[in-house]
Amino acid sequence: MKRNVITGLVLLLACLLTGCGGTTETTVEKPTLCVVLKAMDSVHWMSVQDGLEQAAQDYDVSVNILWPSNENDVDAQNTILRDVIASKPDAIAVSPCDSEQVDVLEQAKDTIPCFYIDTRAEQFDFPYIGADNENIGRLAARTLAQEVENGQIAVIMGNNRQSTHAERLQGFTEELKQYPALELCTVRESETSSYLESMKCMKEILQAYPEVKGVFCTSALMVLGAMEELDKAEAVVKLVGVDMQSDAMSGVEDGKILALVGQNGYEIGYQTIRTMVQYLQGKDIDHNVYVETPVITQENAAEYLEKYLTERGEGND
């Protein structure tokens, strides 16, 4: 009896003592999502990147974010896109630099789930996450019409090959027809959607149409360029821009810009990852995921600016 008890105890101890040991291997593997953006030269794209990274962290996925050196480097973007497809990620989101040159996606459309972020292309009908750009154009027109009762209105748009700018212009033009007193005098296309080119366009407009009352710029960067040119020329023209970014919002707060039709880059980035993850999990997703597009005027600029800075984390700008 006593021997049995002791044997039992020894066995118990042996079991407990040898409970651990051996090689333990921990490998962290997450789904990999690739996002190819147009550039990383503006606050808008940084916000998008920020949202993408935050969402990747929240949904526990890896995200590779790649972009060409500027929004016009279609070849580089296509090279990158080709390489991304060859790396066989779990899903791809792309913001095409040229909405008419996305042939490269042909290789991916059947094997890898593809999404459009921020900008669409007509060629393939992939789910889209971003702002409703036509609506942005309409909102811009309405906002401008409230301030300017009659006269000439000009547009400085970004690269026409990018669907975002084209759609914004379309929405703007259509909505403007509701206001017969307003005349769309000219549409200037800035090839690179850059600050400097926008200044150049603004200068030309002022020269050609000195009576111009309002200008709609299809991006935040361009509205800032236009703003600087107007400042130099000391002309009084109502400016309406697109995108939510702190420098432009400060311009609204100061009254130098009439309004911004907001397009929260962070939200676009975050929703993109969320939608891709949901898709990979086999859930139903909306074909078009539109983010909010609020109109930011002098009255609410401060509020939006604060909200925007908090969302992105302080000192991130």
Binding site: L16, L17, T23, E25, V28, E29, S69, D83, S87
Partner: protein, 562 residues
């Protein structure tokens, strides 16, 4: 080895407490090890994830350099129209892409069999040998995953440098055939110091970066570079994080003993402490158990004493518990034993006394018979026959009555004794009455208790007949009716009143001597025969009295002996 109850109890307590502490500490140990390992792995994973981020950032930079350089129109043109005049411009152009983590930019022109190199130390054009060409073609082919860099040892340098390279082709104007390759290289040492050494350097683990096909790309140990990463063996924890872009794996191998070593120490300390505390606990346990065992010890001692014959000792009663009740029960038992022994001793003593008494009684009648016999012979010698006859009867009577009282005698013997008795009484009362016997011969051999008839005759002489008149007659009859014996003693005296009769039947005594005989007879009948034996009186005033005994017939002296 024979262990006492006390040792067994102490041993059991210590054993159980040791087992409990050991099991507890082992469970605690295993738990802690698990928690520590999990924490360690998650912390290492976090670190490696940061490292992987840094690594990917460098690789992304290298990749962009290759992509941007290869897609630059000017550079493309220069490559297409390469000759010795454009050489310097091209090299300078290439050098402009060299920044940050980009160690060097190469341009390989397979058509010209030359490689242009923009490195930190030089910008040169180098002729390519066949081996160089082969190697360069291999590098140029790149990886299956174009986002993953090619890891290789630079064959075109004298110093064997290891690099991570992205290669992008430059096509001719028609975009059909490749005219040159742009290679962006990141140096392994830069990566090692910037990435592994900075964050991945854990004092208790070995970290390295592995290529997607499992070779060591970057590590502290330069000799291991390019070798296949060894499979983890032994008691180690391996943590792996794969960089999402480059698909390179960052690995940390740690010895489990380093991570959980101090916990093993803690466990052993707990064992030692458990042992120490248990040994210390021996003292109070010993005291407590001693105290609890005291009544048992006492009981044991008392039992030993009782075993040696001392019945006076008693176990002390300490408590109301099981042992208390045990002691109480033992005490009661000893008490009973003692009482029984006492009773036995007393009985023996009484018996002895009785025997001595009896002996004394035997001596006295013997002396009296001898004396009486001497007187009888004196009377015979002096021719006083009557006196001799009287003495003869008296002696026989004495002999009979002195013999064992309870024994049975035959009817003949009893009648003979009654004869003698009557003879003496008639002498005393000067023949003033007559006694007649009527006994059937066949029942003379029946056994009846001795001195059964004589008291009735005595009663009839003393109380029945009128001694002043000389016509008193007493008749003794012994009859048999089937199985029943009837003894009838009749007189023709004055009889008794109903009250006298009742009193006599109940055995009440008139004076000291009277009535003893009758009561004695009835009691003996009852004792020997129960309901079968009976004594009855019938009387009427002035018409005499008759006493009737009824009892079973018996020819066996022993049949009714008690």
């Amino acid at each position: 080895m024979k262990l006492g109850l006390q040792e067994k109890i102490i041993g059991s307590i210590l054993l159980v407490s040791m087992v409990v502490s050991i099991v507890l500490s082992i469970v605690f140990y295993n738990n802690s090890v698990e928690v520590i390992e999990n924490n360690y792995v998650s912390s290492v994973t976090d670190n490696l994830t940061v490292c992987a981020g840094i690594f990917d950032d460098v690789m992304k930079e290298t990749y962009y350099t290759a992509v941007n350089a290869a897609s630059n129109a000017d550079l493309q043109q220069m490559v297409r129209e390469y000759d010795s005049r454009t050489q310097t411009t091209l090299l300078e152009r290439m050098n402009s892409y060299r920044s940050g983590n980009i160690e060097s930019v190469y341009c390989y022109l397979p058509g010209q069999k030359v490689i242009l190199k923009a490195t930190p130390s030089e910008m040169v054009e180098q002729e390519c040998s066949e081996t160089d060409m082969q190697w360069l073609s291999d590098v140029a082919r790149g990886q299956e995953n174009p986002l993953s860099p090619k890891y290789h040892t630079d064959q075109t340098e004298l110093v064997k440098k290891r690099s991570f390279t992205y290669t992008k082709p430059i096509y001719d104007e028609a975009g059909e055939s490749v005219v040159g390759y742009i290679m962006a290289n990141a140096d392994e040492r830069d990566i090692f110091f910037g990435c592994l050494q900075g964050y991945g350097n854990f004092s208790d683990g070995r970290s390295y970066i592995a290529t997607p096909d499992g070779r060591i790309a970057s590590s502290t140990n330069l000799k291991s570079l390019g070798q296949q990463a060894p499979a983890a063996e032994g008691d180690v924890i391996v943590t792996k994080v794969t960089a999402p872009l480059s698909r390179y794996t960052l690995v940390t191998v740690s010895d489990r003993s380093v991570i959980t070593g101090h916990i093993v120490e803690t466990r052993n300390r707990i064992f030692a402490l458990a042992l120490l505390f248990n040994l210390m606990a021996c003292i109070p346990i010993l005291i407590l158990v001693r105290r609890m065992m005291r009544p048992v010890k006492n009981l044991e001692e008392v039992m030993v004493q009782v075993g040696q014959g001392d019945l006076t000792v008693r176990a002390q009663n300490y408590s109301e518990d099981e042992i208390g009740r045990l002691s109480q029960g033992f005490n009661n038992m000893i008490q009973q034993v003692e009482d029984l022994i006492d009773a036995l001793v007393t009985e023996k003593l009484l018996k002895k006394e009785a025997e001595i008494e009896a002996l004394k009684y035997q001596i006295t009648p013997h002396f009296m018979y001898n004396t009486l016999n001497s007187i009888k012979y004196a009377a015979v010698l002096q021719n006083a026959d009557e006196i001799a006859e009287q003495l003869e009867a008296f002696i026989e009577l004495l002999q009979l009555s002195a013999s064992d009282r309870g024994s049975f005698i035959t009817v003949r013997q009893e009648i003979h004794m009654v004869h003698n008795y009557v003879k003496l009484q008639m002498f005393r009362y000067a023949n003033s009455f007559d006694v007649q016997f009527d006994v059937s011969p066949e029942i003379e051999d029946c056994y009846i208790p001795g001195l059964l008839i004589q008291p009735l005759v005595e009663n009839a002489i003393l109380h029945g007949i009128d001694l002043k008149r000389s016509d008193g007659v007493i008749t003794v009859r012994v009859l048999r009716d089937n199985k029943e014996l009837a003894i009838k003693v009749e007189d023709n005296g004055r009889g008794m009143t109903a009250e006298d009769l009742t009193r006599l039947m109940n055995g009440e005594r008139k004076s000291k001597f009277s009535g003893i005989g009758v009561r004695n007879v009835r009691e003996r009948l009852q004792l020997y025969y129960g309901k079968q034996g009976n004594l009855a009186f019938y009387s009427r005033e002035n018409h005499g009295t008759s006493a009737v005994i009824t009892m079973p017939v018996s020819y066996d002296a022993e049949e009714y002996t008690i």
